[in-house]
Amino acid sequence: MTARIVYRNARLLDPATGLDQRADLLIDGEKIADFGPGLFSGSTPEGAEVVDLAGQCLAPGLVDMRVLIGEPGEEEKDTIKSASRAAAAGGITAMALLPNTDPVLDEVAGLEFIARRAREVKLVKVFAYGSATRGTEGKEITEMGLLSHAGAVAFTDGTKPIASAKTMRRALSYAKTFGKLIVQHPEEPSLAAGGMMNSGEIATRLGLVGIPREAEIIMIERDLRLAELTGGRLHFAHITTSESVDLIRRAKARGLKVTCDTAPHYFALTETDVGDYRTYAKVSPPLRGEMDRRAVVEGLADGTIDAIASDHVPQDQDQKRLPFAQAAPGVIGLETLFPLTLELVHKGKMPLLKALACVTSNPAAILDLAVGRIVKGGPADLVAFDLDVPWQIDVGRFKSKSKNSPFENRPVQGRPLRTIVDGRTVWQAED
């Protein structure tokens, strides 16, 4: 007999259908068997475990479409196990891993390795991108068909841009054959070369080499042309400038198959957070100015930006306790994705369902994954959370092996209480 669990008295939320009501939900084994208001007004099914949520929220588990870990190759930064534990603690039930490992995920064997490790760890759902080009070198496209059959959710060179227009054109055309998406890190590399932070007054004062905003804008303009030329599906990762938002807004209006995401640090921080050479604020692309930050928030609010990804890039202490120029870019984000997304809700920038869509149904739809929604017969991947509880981010308690977060001690509101994957509770708040 499969396990049956009833979650009672939930504020049940599903951004995919606009559901927001007091209801109960029944899980049978790995699936959602039923849900609705007053489902068990009489009695609960015999033998079922009953969890009373006392009015707390219950929503689809978060789908994080941009996560880098160190396995294989740099296990000291994060492994599938440590990242899965961090994801579960952050309310994330599915994550898509970037291919920038060592070796790069450009072979079927690499994807099989990830799948095997994920099965062994068995916490959250782990998906992986295939690299768009061999070795992420930007020259030859990978065996996208075979990699798709081996489970690649989409193709990207991850933290590296596909610099060559010719390669990008081929990648977009070829991936279309298999209905797959190309994800671009939009940054024109010759303009960004040697850069350490956003170009402008602060970089000039600090004597740091700046990366102009145009490095991102130019690449987006170019790739939109190539998407139009090929008819391929294109997604821009972590966009950061107001012009990027405008370009994508207009491209969508023209009917191009284009989507984009951003990361919490691009709507919660600005270049001023670099302060006195704070390496934890060194990210790629760099943190921008206040006007850009606001444009990113507006892009999220009006739906131009489809998704929020953690852009989790773990770096150990040795990679960050260095002069700014030498420090590696990246911040961890699995455990801060949810509270920082809710910050947009608490600040009145987005309604709750819309914000939740950015971290559940939208990324799932972009990657064509059957998760991120509450559907009868669908997988029971859920997060129960307290929308209002205030707390302070304490990186010391994080499950990730690396601690490179610029959000340490930030006051936030709302946190996960329980994370459920395929019906199993994989994480639960201690108190």
């Binding site: 004062r205 004597g207 260095l322 002069p323």
Partner: protein, 325 residues
Amino acid sequence: MSANPSPDTVFPHRHLLGIEGLRAGEITQILDLADGYVEQNRRPVKKSTLLDGRTQVNLFFENSTRTRTSFELAGKRLGADVINMSTDSSSVKKGETLIDTAMTLNAMHLDALVVRHADSGAVKLLADKVNCSVINAGDGHHEHPTQALLDALAIRRRLGRLDGLIVAICGDILHSRVARSNIHLLNAMGARVRCVAPPTLLPSQIERLGVEVHHSMKTGLRDADVVMMLRLQTERMSGQYVPSTREYFYFYGLDYEKLEVAKPDAVIMHPGPMNRGVEIDSEVADDLKRSMILDQVELGVAVRMAVLDLLTRDRRQSDLAGANQ
């Protein structure tokens, strides 16, 4: 010129990491004290015992003969034990990080640490980890505070003031820590600062630092009291930031013809080493009436003595108080 401050006056900073953030009064305090050290350095016996028993380490991660020598002389003339360390002989080549180096030096109980590093902010990182005073001898493209202070001293001694002067800083401002420190200092002291360079050699939004920007020497040097030339690294020239040294010299190299629009008694400065025939014509560089290049070198030692004196005052006074108890 004001009188030397009392030797009891405590300087309110533990380190000298940059000019940005210093107040005009603090800059004046250093310059006034340096004036006194200029006199000491011109005496036959130049050495004093002020820093007797103190240890100064010059830690240079980048080659520099003149700045290192200047700091070495400054420390020795104040009686400190001075040790020079360079990357060639340090453990950095063996993989030691900057923070490891800092911790190691800290365990040796230094009093002053003079640091030059190729990365902006590296000196600050080091200063956060040590107990002694740290002096920035140039970090990346960020700051070179003692160079700006010695430039200011040279101008003040020659022209009698800084306030209200028009100072044109010309050349490779993009890569220049000297330019940034001078901009902060001259602004704080009430001078008008102009930056003159081709757009490729100017950092983004430099005007936000409170300078006028000119791309032509003719407009940039007009009525200037001081013309500060910057060294241009020739390896950065071809095809990168400017097309050739020939073209650069034609438009931006300082010669008498371009100097004509400046004030008749305008002075010429250069932090050295110079590329003669690239950013400056030899005739101008060697014109003793206009060029202050050798004054700058001389005053550099005095300024560094003043900085070492001021930064270690607090500790010297507390040591004295401890000994008297």
